[in-house]
């Protein structure tokens, strides 16, 4: 659903998305790298478990909540990727941390 517009000189950053390795770029937010990886659904809504994806990409809608390095419910659009970062989608706020 999203593609990179150019090959540029940004460093590649390897992340793990739902157990699968993916190459992002330095500077990507977690939300952006998930979009680049073809993810549309990031989580399930708290009340009815409906599929949800990022909406505002600027930290005000709280739809882009994903688990990052073991910590759930983090706003992906505000967090830059780092090498080896483990990102897990599909969570639902009401579920307790594993």
């Amino acid at each position: 659903m999203f593609r990179r517009i150019e090959v540029n000189d940004r460093t590649a950053v390897g992340v793990v998305i739902d157990g699968m390795p993916f190459q992002g770029q330095a500077g990507d937010t977690v939300a952006a790298v998930l979009l680049a990886a073809g993810k549309r659904m990031f989580r399930r809504s708290a009340v009815a478990g409906e599929p949800r994806g990022p909406f505002c990409m600027m930290g005000v809608c709280f739809e882009c909540l994903v688990e990052i390095d073991g910590v759930p419910n983090r706003q992906g659009c505000l967090i830059p990727v780092t090498e080896g970062m483990r990102i897990v989608t599909g969570g639902r706020q009401t579920e307790a941390r594993q």
């Binding site: 540029n8 940004r10 500077g27 909406f55 990409m57 005000v60």
Partner: protein, 478 residues
């Protein structure tokens, strides 16, 4: 400029705390005369806010695609970088009290610091655009798409549609086309220009810098992209994600477009959560159809030593934001005794002129692109509150049950506004529905009463904040 990496590096007392690193915050920081401690807190990892997102790291090719207005951000960042200020990236200020105590969170740790002056420059956010299916994955805001393009150089692949009203639709479409991504269609919900209020404000607009830019963008985009004007209804369809959009032009039949992505926009409104929670006097702007803090030309609010500048004080665009930020920086400099009133006024003159220049035509833009009420008052089955999944119909039913109540009672009853976004996505909608159902103006209805923390913060983080003996004595008995 030096960077603050954790809360321990902050002094207990700051002379000037600036919150937000968009054009207003950057200009405010650069305008404060040297000699005092100035800290700019930014929730993002790099300066630029939304409009200049990624300006410090985007490639020349991308900057070329984004256009000359975007590149203006480089000057602002350069002036900021040259200033004697501290920059705290990835810092969330989750509280500002009326006596200027700030709660700052960096890297999972919070701390309280005090400031002699606070300049809030937290900007705007998209006006909620609640349509059936707006919560489906694949539906995003135009601002969000533009930010993604700026941050990561990503464009939509496959069929995508842009819908709504306002200059951003045309700028975004133009930028996407420059980047090789063409929308399948633009669904324009702009009401007819031939309304008295619009025509009355046209003359000053003709003298403004906006006109020439706007016409060029629209012309170029219309050459390449099918544009459907006069759209009065929009629905997003899909099960696990967006699959199609249906729309109605005027009173015609619903038409269907297959699409993977839909980008919505019907203007931006001030992000009022901080001002509201602080207790600033707020005023309803009948032209922009939004609440904003009451401010004077220097950005001063109803609370002493707290100023609000930029789009967070009222929508004016990036140039006005930068000028208003500079005004507040100069004002604070005067009050700290760093410059004389005369010097302050001399330096402020150019910024006042800038604000006046860009003010011409603002009313026209506001009136021309005012959303139609049908896009502010969703149908019963549409979600008004995304976080707590409360429909417009539930709000209307609650008003029938409870009678003449306001947004805070509806919030207590239904939980709309209680989710993590703290009303940012639903506040205007809830208030508009109440106003319409009760036959009142939004001004009479009011807004949610917001409270700190204005961003969700864990109990653990609050409990582990450093405290002093006096803090302990304040709460422990005996």
């Amino acid at each position: 400029m030096r960077t603050v990496g954790n809360v321990d590096e902050l002094p207990n007392e700051i002379d000037v705390a600036i919150i937000g690193a968009g054009p207003a915050g950057l200009a405010a920081a650069a305008a404060v005369r040297p000699g005092r401690t100035v800290v700019l807190f930014d929730e993002n990892p790099e300066p630029g806010g939304q409009i200049y997102r990624g300006i410090t790291s985007s490639t020349p090719l991308l900057q070329e695609m984004l256009g000359p207005d975007y590149r203006r951000g480089k000057e602002l960042v350069a002036d900021f970088a040259a200033a004697d200020v501290a920059y705290a990236p990835r810092a969330t200020v989750w509280m500002v009290s009326a006596d200027r105590e700030l709660a700052v969170s960096i890297a999972g740790r919070s701390r309280l610091v005090t400031a002699r002056h606070v300049i809030l420059a937290t900007g705007a956010l998209e006006r909620p655009f609640p349509i059936p299916g707006w919560t489906l994955p694949g539906v995003m805001t135009c601002g969000g798409l533009q930010g993604t393009l700026k941050n990561a150089g990503l464009v939509p692949d496959g069929n995508f549609v842009i819908a709504g009203t306002g200059p951003l639709l045309w700028l975004l479409a133009y930028q996407l086309m420059a980047a090789g991504a063409k929308p399948k269609a633009i669904l324009d919900t702009t009401q007819t220009m031939f309304r008295a209020e619009v025509l009355k404000s046209a003359a000053p607009f003709l003298a403004s810098p906006y006109l020439r830019k706007g016409r060029m963008l629209m012309r170029e985009v219309r050459k390449a992209v099918p544009v459907i004007s006069g759209v009065t209804e929009l629905v997003a369809h899909g099960t696990s994600g967006l699959e199609a959009i249906s729309y109605r032009k005027g009173r015609g039949e619903m038409q269907r477009i297959e699409a993977d992505s839909l980008f919505l926009h019907q203007g931006v409104i001030p992000n009022v959560n901080m001002a509201n929670a602080l207790g600033c006097e707020m005023i309803w702007d009948e032209t922009q159809l939004c609440w904003k803090p009451k401010t004077d030309a220097w950005g001063r609010t109803s609370i002493a030593d707290i100023s609000i500048v930029g789009d967070g004080a009222g929508i004016g665009g990036a140039e006005v934001a930068a000028a208003s930020g500079a005004m507040a920086g100069l004002d604070v400099s005067g009050r700290l005794g760093l410059i004389s009133d005369g010097e302050r006024d001399r330096l402020a003159a150019a910024h006042r002129d800038q604000i006046n220049l860009y003010g011409k035509g603002r009313r026209f833009l506001d009136m021309a692109f005012q959303p139609h009420p049908s896009f502010l008052l969703p149908a019963d089955e549409t979600l008004a509150c995304r976080c707590e999944e409360v429909t417009a119909g539930q709000i209307r039913a609650t008003l029938r049950d409870l009678g003449d109540v306001g947004p805070n009672q509806v919030k207590s009853y239904l939980r709309c506004g209680m989710g993590p976004c703290q009303g940012r996505m639903c506040g205007p909608t809830v208030a508009a529905i109440i106003a319409a159902e009760r036959g009142l103006s939004p001004e009479q209805v009011g807004y949610f009463r917001l409270r700190f923390p204005i961003k969700p913060t864990t109990v653990a983080e609050i409990a582990t904040m450093p405290f002093e003996e006096k803090d302990l004595r304040a709460v422990v008995r005996g």
